[in-house]
Symmetry: C2
Subunit: 287 residues, 2 copies
């Protein structure tokens, strides 16, 4: 090769990118912001994201620590949309699960102020639902410099707080996870608090409810929740690490998904939609 | 109201739009282009779309009519991606299900020539994966006036033809349905032939495979296919009708989804992504 001529950059597949990743490309889950939703079929691991919903995430942790969810159930599985869990008797004041020190409802946290120090790895492509989209510490997010607001995006596996028509009617006693095509029209309309990082298939493969909005019609169809615990309070932890989204490795991963280099692909898309960027999780390695 | 002042147009919800629809807004399924995939749990109804893949759809009908799929199985369920069915012994020349008069492989039909007479109701919004997107006779589709090509889009429930790395290695003996966030990067890389119009939950709620790419690792995990039949050959039909996509009713439906008018929504999106437009199906009414 002639001096001064750069070697051609070999296009990489995602497998190439991950194989070349360094330990510093990964971050462990914070046990203080990780929930274990325990079903008879196994454990669903949820990472909370307090930066986008400080009051709701704190309240969910308070609910978890007072055992609020233990013995409640998955109530709703709507195909191509959401799985929702909470109290079957929420609407019955005499039978509903009591809330102790936590709050039942909170002021909505649909968006947050966009500050200089909000981590944000912007995607190179345009998005239909927001002026700018990308990733904030491993979570799909959007921001609008004009309004000065930022928010999490409703991608597959994201977890949010159910509410009624009143924006301030949710608080965390009813939670949902996205199990279908990204319902991005929910963005800025409901408080997102985190995402499922392992075990989504324990929710997404549940039988669909046949009632309105996918609610189970018969009590016996509901899927019991054994418990929800904060990882910090559990000795038998699921130790995972998540690919950081503020590294050159992640930038290379996005490039590998915009134009697939795998032999199978014949026409590169030249684009990747926010929710089609994989947020990779693996068992934690010893450091 | 003063003369000459138009009455304000009341913003409609999707429920309003559908309630006001006329019989002419709906079309029946064509029994010659409708498949019934029969599982122990029920019937999956698939509408074929010959205009976008004439040879593959004809070949699938030929395979169905020679009983090719009867007794085969769902082999792969990959979370947030696809369900795939076909012959567990496809790679074993001694044991594989024989193909009689149909073809095992065909030349790829990833795109078709964009002609004047291709029905196309264009969406008002931009799309990341294609210059123009919309609906062709009830199917999500894309077109590129520059290249003069059109193609079906990988939305939830779309059905395509599995292939190996060779573009011409598929023919319809192995089919898949999308059960996750729209994998639009597959567009123009694989032949789409139709979509599931009823019963997708019989596929999307199946246990996920734990092998590579979501393949079931043990033969007993596979989900047996009782039969696949063309509706034209079946007396006990599932009579459905599908909302047409070339009417003012459909235009109003798209508008109702771009900016939700339901009381629950607080911030209208001002956008609807192609695969978030509902393609509505209902039991056929007597005419």
């Amino acid at each position: 090769m002639a001096p001064g001529v750069a070697a051609p950059v070999k296009p990489l597949t995602m497998a190439d990118v991950l194989a070349a990743s360094q330990p510093s490309d990964w971050r462990p889950l914070d046990p203080e912001n990780t929930l274990y939703l325990e079903l008879a079929t196994g454990r669903v691991v949820i990472e909370l994201k307090p930066a986008f919903a400080p009051h709701h995430t704190a309240n969910i942790k308070a609910l978890v620590r007072e055992g609020y969810f233990d013995g409640l159930a998955v109530l709703r599985v709507q195909d191509n949309y959401v799985v929702q869990w909470g109290d079957p008797d929420a609407d019955d004041k005499d039978k509903q699960r009591p809330v102790k020190k936590a709050q039942r409802t909170l002021t909505a946290e649909f968006t947050i102020a966009l500050t200089q120090d909000l981590p944000f790895t912007r995607l190179p492509d345009a998005d239909g639902y927001a002026p700018e989209v990308g990733f904030s510490d491993g979570f799909p997010a959007a921001r609008d410099p004009k309004t000065g607001r930022a928010w999490l995006a409703h991608c597959y596996g994201m977890v949010g707080v159910g509410r009624d028509n009143d924006p301030d009617s949710g608080g965390g006693t009813e939670l949902y996870a996205v199990i279908g095509n990204a319902p991005r029209h929910l963005d800025r309309n409901i408080t997102l608090v985190g995402r499922v990082v392992q075990g989504i298939e324990l929710l997404s493969a549940l039988p669909r409810g046949t009632g309105a909005l996918g609610f189970y019609e018969k009590p016996q169809q509901r899927v019991p929740i054994q418990s929800v615990r904060l990882a910090a309070d559990v000795s038998a932890r699921t130790n995972l690490e998540v690919l950081r989204t503020d590294t050159s490795t992640f930038t290379a991963l996005v490039a590998s998904r915009r134009n697939r280099q795998d032999n199978w692909y014949k026409v590169p898309a030249g684009y990747v939609e926010l929710c089609n960027v994989p947020l990779v999780v693996r068992p934690a390695t010893r450091r």
